[in-house]
Symmetry: C2
Subunit: 414 residues, 2 copies
């Protein structure tokens, strides 16, 4: 065991010699004289500490905690609801893995610039990696957001893991009709990495939360230049890269706005729903017995029997919205027994149209509902919500094909 104290502190940007080459990384800790350094790739390496030199010590790590009392009472009131995820994560020095460990207030401490944008209330709803998100937590989240807005919040920020953020943003879009911005934000790289996006994303989300927007949106890096965050409609966004900071992309519509960085100017598109244009309502029923099924060649229709008892299925079909004709009979039986079946496309872009080819016409004739240009994920969440709130199958069908919160465009952009 080493007893010598390290010359570096956690978060230091260091340059280490490895053989003939040099590599930069973020100092994590020191064990037995070996510096544990996180590389840009996300991996940790161990290097003799003497082979490393300090490049810079990030100011953010040393910033004083803004006390609750120090918040400027003249600024708009914004609530941060924390659910976990990388934006709220810390390195576990024992394993080197990233875990969700922050409390909501820690986000204010980690991003001190927030204090000049708004007065914040922080609520810790849960602390999960977002792959563990559930419809039950969406309901808690919807209620918490509703209560905050009802209680005077002029904007809400939801910090969320990026894995399922798009699903959650879609869920809240349907459950909470909001007059104020409800902004989902996360980060693709944890705060201990030189390329972390948590600071910029957090600040852009905060400015969007006090903007003239009046809907649910996801605010994340628009590119890798650190100069723009995109504001994506909650029902129209999808995580399209495992690790890039600009992973989130709008589908079927352009982003509804951008935030310039570092000046934090928010520009909303004409299509964006404006603050105050809807009154606050909560409709938090969800029918959880809904599934998303991706079709592939050779898929056995017998798989559908696993969904007996389900109330709804979203199919992610091929092309214009197809599955093998071997599925027609089984789907027909399920629909006759009361299941709602919605067709979307695994192409992710463009509109389902089942009137063009034979298979599609057969699907329509048995009662499959065209999911228009909805993303499969948004269609799944919408189906849960529609089946939890519609009073008849006919009303459900109408609601599915109607744009409730901008999740469908009659005329899609590319």
């Amino acid at each position: 065991m080493s007893t010598k104290e390290s010359t570096f502190v956690t978060g230091d940007l260091v340059n280490c010699r490895i053989g003939e080459s040099k590599t930069e990384g973020s100092f994590i800790t020191c064990r037995d004289g070996m510096a544990v350094v996180k590389l840009e790739s996300g991996y940790n390496i161990g290097v003799p500490e003497g082979d490393c030199s300090l490049i810079s010590r990030p100011e953010i790590m040393e910033s004083a905690e803004p006390a609750e009392a120090e918040q400027n009472q003249n600024l708009p009131q914004v609530t941060i609801v924390s659910t976990g995820g990388t934006i709220a994560s810390k390195i576990d020095y024992r394993t080197g893995a990233v875990t969700s460990q922050f409390r909501a207030t820690d986000i204010l401490h980690a991003i001190p610039g927030l204090a000049s944008i708004a007065r914040f209330r922080a609520i810790q709803l849960c602390n999960i990696l977002s792959e563990n998100m559930t419809p039950a937590i969406w309901q808690q989240l919807a209620r918490a957001i509703y209560e905050e807005i009802k209680g005077g919040a002029e904007g809400v920020i939801v910090t969320h893991g990026t894995d399922t953020m798009a699903y959650s943003a879609a869920a809240i879009s349907f459950m909470v009709q909001t007059p104020v911005p409800i902004i989902f934000v996360g980060s693709q790289r944890s705060a201990d990495r030189p390329s972390s996006d948590n600071l910029m994303n957090g600040l852009c989300a905060a400015k969007t939360a006090i903007s003239e927007l009046g809907e649910v949106a996801v605010v994340m890096h628009a590119n890798t230049s650190d100069d723009i965050c995109a504001i994506h409609r909650g029902t129209r966004v999808r995580k399209m890269h495992t690790s890039r900071r600009d992973a989130f992309q709008s589908h079927g519509t352009h982003p509804i706005g951008i935030v310039a960085y570092p000046d934090l100017t928010v520009s909303l598109s004409p299509e964006a729903m404006k603050r105050g244009s809807r009154s606050l309502t909560l409709a938090d029923n969800l029918e959880e017995q809904c599934a998303l099924i991706t079709y592939y060649p050779g898929m056995d229709p017998a798989i559908l029997s696993a969904y007996t008892g389900y109330k709804g299925i979203v199919l992610s079909g091929t092309g214009l919205g197809h599955v093998s004709s071997r599925f027609i009979e089984r789907l027909s039986d399920l629909i006759r027994d009361g299941m709602t079946v919605v067709m979307t496309s695994q192409c992710l872009n463009g509109r389902v149209c089942d009137r063009v080819y034979d298979t599609g016409r057969d699907l329509l004739s048995i009662g499959v509902i065209e999911g228009e240009d909805m993303l499969p994920e948004a269609a799944l969440v919408k189906l849960m919500w529609v089946l939890g709130n519609a009073t008849s199958p006919e009303q459900a069908r109408e609601m599915i094909q109607e744009s409730l919160v901008g999740e469908i465009d009659r005329r899609s952009v590319a």
Copy 2:
């Protein structure tokens, strides 16, 4: 019933007055004095024939059939294997729907420019809409292609519906190690529509089939300007739009070449496998009991019991490759019972990495195999092939993580 003969012939580009406005379309037929006209949108309208005027009569529709004997014996020998799809489709005038009705030789007649590129043999393997493609047909297709190349074909063109073309291209990539180009081509708009892409795609595919390429590829419109087709690696391509002509996009790698139109110059990238660099082999075993499962929040792990007896599962997880931690135990049981489980990402871009977060580390510890940067669809097809050809579970695991035909890149491009 109308007895008057129409002044238009099928395929004529016509301009029709509808109320105050004019619209262009493709004349289909005449019923009771009403011209049935297919609009650019794909929909048919009925207009009094007198309200329509001729814009142009496409030459292609009137071209003489190139007789087998007329083929230039000095040109390279290429086999066209037809499987069906829009590129081989006709309008059903009764229903207005598009059906696969062409025989393989009809493609030569529909695209007379082909005759100056190569000598063609045409094989009609099947005539299906590609959502009905199956692993069994992939095996027939692989054998047919193998026999043609063995018999002297210097290139092969497979005409295929676009819905599942990427799956089939991936399947043939693994089943046939080829010294010559095997080119999948389709069209997004049928020949009766003014914007049909069948002519340009067909010619670009033919030129690629006689090029210096030595691997399986998909050749389709690269943009909407009608000036470039992209050559996509068979394991790296995905249909990303329901209706656009440039629907196909490479993932994890750039296209391996382009074909300029109309001069038909083929440019291959340095990464493209070159003609003759591999010797011809056929390995047509497939384990069909494999499934692709897309994870979503709230998904019930009990669904996995429907896959009892399956030999392999590809999970399309969230982010870096995650499913809810509620899945760990069930997946562990399935793996212990001999199932191979591969993790991919529904992000479609970027690499799976299960060493970063807790859930991923748990997945690795129970034996889930990281699918690297493979597309979920390519991983499914590869899993079928690997489990049909590996001699041990250890070998299967190695093959899955190894790039066999360019389906994995150690360093992904964005």
